[in-house]
């Protein structure tokens, strides 16, 4: 897995100054996640056809591509919500375990945010966020609640701590979901089309929270259709099609100078003018 290098002209390029080589974020350290020839099938349908990929620490990686291209499947293989039919996923150099008790420990290091939010409707926002630490980490209730309040404040919803999901807008629910995932103190955050189910007005509030997370150095893998978010916030973009990676690189490459013609087609299909 080599970091793709593509030269970006420095402002002084015309004058003959040496071009700056692009260095992928976090390239110096060992990668957090390594996917090696990952294969996933559902009966006859091949969702992932031998995908190899690397995620560095502190990197924001966006997975884009048409529906059914495998991006969500890869995300769900990452925290073992789906089992692999071939290949391996390595977290910090260690392959994902298969026994439930060990898988649980791995899942605690990853936070997942779902397209349909999946807040627990029978609990308030505060209790949703505190539930993970209490149930899984065995934290004391008061401590967990304090932590939950801090996280809700971080996503801008401290005034809604006692509201139940039914009384929150979609954007608010998703922000609570992000706080809930963060409550476990994960090393990696997985986002599965976090804004696809939101009204356009509320998409922004969620993307802002995600941007803030990225600025704080969280390792994030985001499956998304929000191209401008990917363009502005991602450090690395991977384009999927038919269960395989069509192209990957920094956002400037993918969006401005895609090397693969199909990428260009896909982007223009989504109305991306570049």
């Amino acid at each position: 897995m080599n970091a793709t290098l593509s030269p970006i002209g420095a402002p002084g390029a015309a004058t003959g100054a040496a071009p700056t080589a692009f260095i992928r974020k976090g390239a110096g350290d060992k990668p957090v996640l390594v996917y090696e020839n990952v294969r996933k099938t559902y009966g006859d349908f091949v969702a992932l056809n031998g995908v190899s990929l690397q995620v560095n620490k502190g990197e924001v990686m966006c997975l884009i591509g048409p529906s059914g291209s495998g991006k969500s499947t890869l995300l769900r293989c990452t925290n073992a919500l789906e089992t692999l039919n071939g290949g391996q996923v390595y977290l910090d150099g260690v392959p994902l375990p298969t026994r439930e008790s060990e898988v649980r420990r791995v899942r605690q290091r990853m936070g997942m945010v779902f397209q349909s939010f999946e807040l627990f409707p029978h609990k308030s926002a505060l209790d949703n966020v505190a539930m993970g630490p209490i149930t899984v980490l065995g934290m004391k209730e008061d401590e967990a609640r304090t932590r939950a309040r801090a996280l809700l404040d971080k996503v801008g919803l401290s005034s809604k701590a006692d509201n139940f999901p039914a009384n929150l807008s979609g954007g608010q629910q998703q922000r609570v979901a992000i706080a809930r995932a963060l409550a476990m103190g994960p090393d990696v955050m997985l986002f599965d089309e976090p804004t696809s189910a939101l009204d356009p007005e509320t998409v922004g509030e969620v993307l802002n929270v995600m941007k803030k997370l990225a600025q704080e150095g969280m390792t994030m893998i985001v499956v998304t259709h929000e191209m401008s978010f990917a363009r502005r916030v991602a450090n690395w973009v991977v384009v999927f099609e038919n269960g395989a990676i069509m192209e990957e690189g920094p956002p400037e490459q993918i969006f401005d100078h895609p090397t693969v013609a199909r990428t260009r087609d896909f982007l223009s299909h989504l109305g991306w003018d570049g």
Binding site: L81, T135, V136, R180
Partner: protein, 219 residues
Amino acid sequence: MNLDWNIIWTHRDALFHGALMTVMLTVVTMLLAVPGGMVLALMRLSNSKVLAGISLCFVEFFRNLPLILIIYWAFYVMPMALDVQFSALTTALVALVLNISAYNAETFRAGINSIRRGQMEAALAMGMSHRQAMFRVVIPQAARRILPVFASTWISLFKDTSLVSVIAVSELAYTSMQIRAQSYRVLEMLTAMAVIYWLMGYPQAKLVDWIHRKYGVKE
């Protein structure tokens, strides 16, 4: 047509005890049929194909037979199969418990399955075990959906206890019809029987309505 409504007052003791027996049958059956239904539902939802198969057969067997037939069948088969003489009351309870367990199993299973998979996944993604996810996320939500159906099953059971009169268990129906046979006061006794059932059943029906209103699923 000369009617003697006094007959009801004369036999008020027997009628009261009959009504009490009806209530007792209902309560005891449900006390046993709730855990019974839970066991069957968990068997059905488990990963073991054998357990799921047994549960499925059991439930389908009782869903597809009239209760009165089951009562008769239990009455004749049980003594033979187990070589013990059972009282009619025991037989009645066995038949009722088995029958209602099957219905409860379906109710519990459907309730649990009606909770979106995403809820289970969100819980697992946090690192919860399967059991934790079930008991803290899925079942609390399923309980809300299950309660109205369960309430309807309860009131059906209350009415079905009348069927054990065919094997001479002294609940309300049997008692009333015995008094009718002895006193020849047909209209009075049968009307009294209907009224007493109504007095017991109507509040239950209203309670069931209230439960459906309060806990009914609002999509």
